[in-house]
């Protein structure tokens, strides 16, 4: 806790849970195209956003992630046809509920990045990093002991 707070060089730690078919390929494209983006994200690849248990997000926050980004295919472009559409509902309810108990809205972010949008991926990561940096280190829901 003290390290995190005192260190001037605090850098946000962001967990990005991304789908294999769109955003992960988008991230790959960003890498191949040598587009620069902040190194604050730790990418976890899952088959589909529909596979993401909302517990993953809560658990990431609990383990001390300063922000969680979930990204998948644009609605209508899911590799599994409807995975991201059911996921969208889950995340809408989750984000609303986390906001309700007083968590900052920008701690949990959801977006869509397709495989051809390497540039957008970099932009999203920049945007997310800035948003989380503005919030400072996570304090709520974080395990201390």
């Amino acid at each position: 806790m003290t390290d995190k707070e005192s260190a001037k060089e605090w850098e946000p730690k962001i967990v990005a849970i991304v789908c294999n078919w769109c955003t992960y390929a988008g991230a790959d494209l960003a890498g191949i195209s040598r587009i620069q983006y902040p190194p604050n994200v730790r990418i976890i690849r899952v088959p589909c956003t529909g596979r993401i248990n909302p517990f993953y997000i809560m658990r990431a926050l609990h383990e001390g992630a300063d922000g969680v980004l979930v990204s998948g295919c644009h609605p209508g472009e899911c590799h599994y046809i409807t995975g991201n559409l059911t996921a969208r509902r889950k995340f809408a309810a989750l984000k609303s509920f986390l906001g309700y108990i007083g968590l900052e809205g920008d701690r949990t972010l959801f977006t869509w990045v397709s495989a051809s949008e390497g540039d957008r991926f970099a932009q999203v990561i920049r945007g997310v990093t800035d948003a989380v940096r503005a919030l400072g280190p996570a304090r709520k829901l974080v395990k201390r002991m």
Binding site: F55, M58, L85, R89, Y100, T111
Partner: protein, 341 residues
């Protein structure tokens, strides 16, 4: 209410005598004054134990699920030709019937395995409000007399109108009649003041985030992780609950306050479009955690976002197992655009 009780006993007696059901889950008189307790009636003679009054609190759908789940499990060890169906009769008020609908939707058992004895409901007595009326003293005797609750304690006698002692969820309940019933007993009372249903949620939403967090922290700090809320909740029926799962271990059992917060957060999140606001969890909570404040938000969201009310119709799927192309997208992060906090 007297008539409902009489009719209920008759119906239960009939069902048991005709062997249409193996057991009736209902309420009987509790051992303490002004209480009723769930009971299992298996013979027609016992049916006279059944009661129906404002002291019947817990959601009986939980017991229906438990009985049938155990039966299904036991039948696996029986030769196929010797297997038998077990039918459970259940005394159901509005919220209980909604829980039964959720079970049916989630394919926990078949409609042919339950017989619903629908009863009209005017709300139940809140244990905590009653304790406040008794001034925290032990209730020695109590009676319900023409809409008035009279309690006798060591220091004297007090009374209050029943309507003032009803549970919060009953005051804004719009389901005084069961949504499904095989047998309906009694007249259906008028619907309570349902328009104000989400008022406390809206009021809470309008508080600054820090205040909301402080409240959440404060409430969760009371929780002793006895899991009574989970055990009593009809929508919590997993054989292995995430709270006790070890692979993966979702939530630790340490003394850190965040462990408890995480447990509650995860359990509450399960209730998106599945909480019928029966109030059983708050009724059994020994620490008086204000769970309803948080559960009601999910109820509100399920309604405002997806137009869904938990357990109201058998046809409508659970909100999180369905989708619409036009579902809201305003929470999606767009780089360069300021997202709503």
């Amino acid at each position: 209410m007297e008539n409902v009780e009489k009719k209920l006993r008759e119906e239960a007696k009939g069902l048991l005598a005709e062997k249409k059901v193996d057991v009736v889950v209902g309420y009987e008189k509790g051992t303490l004054p002004l209480t009723a307790t769930p009971c299992f009636i298996t013979t027609p003679e016992e049916a006279d134990r059944l009661v129906w009054n404002p002291f019947c609190v817990l959601n009986l759908a939980k017991f229906v699920h438990d009985l049938l789940d155990q039966h299904h499990e036991a039948q696996k060890r029986v030769k196929p030709e010797a297997r038998r169906k077990r039918v459970v009769g259940v005394v159901a008020r509005g919220c209980t019937s909604r829980s039964l609908v959720i079970h049916l939707q989630e394919k926990q058992y078949g409609k042919d395995e339950i017989v619903i004895l629908g009863v009209p409901c005017g709300g139940y007595l809140d244990g905590k409000k009653l304790a406040a009326l008794a001034g925290g003293e032990e209730v020695r005797e109590g009676a319900l007399d023409e809409g008035k609750i009279v309690v006798k304690t060591m220091s004297g006698e007090r009374q209050a109108a029943l309507t003032g002692l009803l549970a919060d969820n009953c005051l804004v309940c719009r389901f005084n009649r069961p949504v499904i019933a095989d047998i309906q007993t009694g007249e259906v009372p008028p619907v309570a003041e349902a328009e104000r249903e989400y008022d406390p949620v809206t009021a809470f939403e309008n508080l600054p985030p820090e205040e909301r967090w402080t409240y959440f922290e404060k409430e969760m700090a009371k929780c002793i992780r006895c899991y009574a809320c989970r055990n009593v909740c009809p929508s919590c029926y997993c054989r292995i609950c995430f709270a006790e799962q070890s692979q993966p271990r979702w939530v630790d059992i340490g003394a850190d306050p965040s462990d408890t917060q995480l447990f509650q957060l995860m359990r509450i999140y399960h209730m998106v479009g599945r909480c019928v606001d029966c109030g059983s969890c708050t009724a059994v909570c020994p620490m008086g955690v204000d769970l309803r404040k948080f559960l009601k938000k999910l109820d509100k969201d399920a309604f405002t976002m997806f137009g869904h009310r938990a357990g109201v119709s058998l046809e409508e799927p659970a909100p999180l197992s369905a989708y619409r192309e036009t579902d809201r997208e305003d929470f999606i992060f767009e780089p360069g655009k300021k997202s709503e906090a």
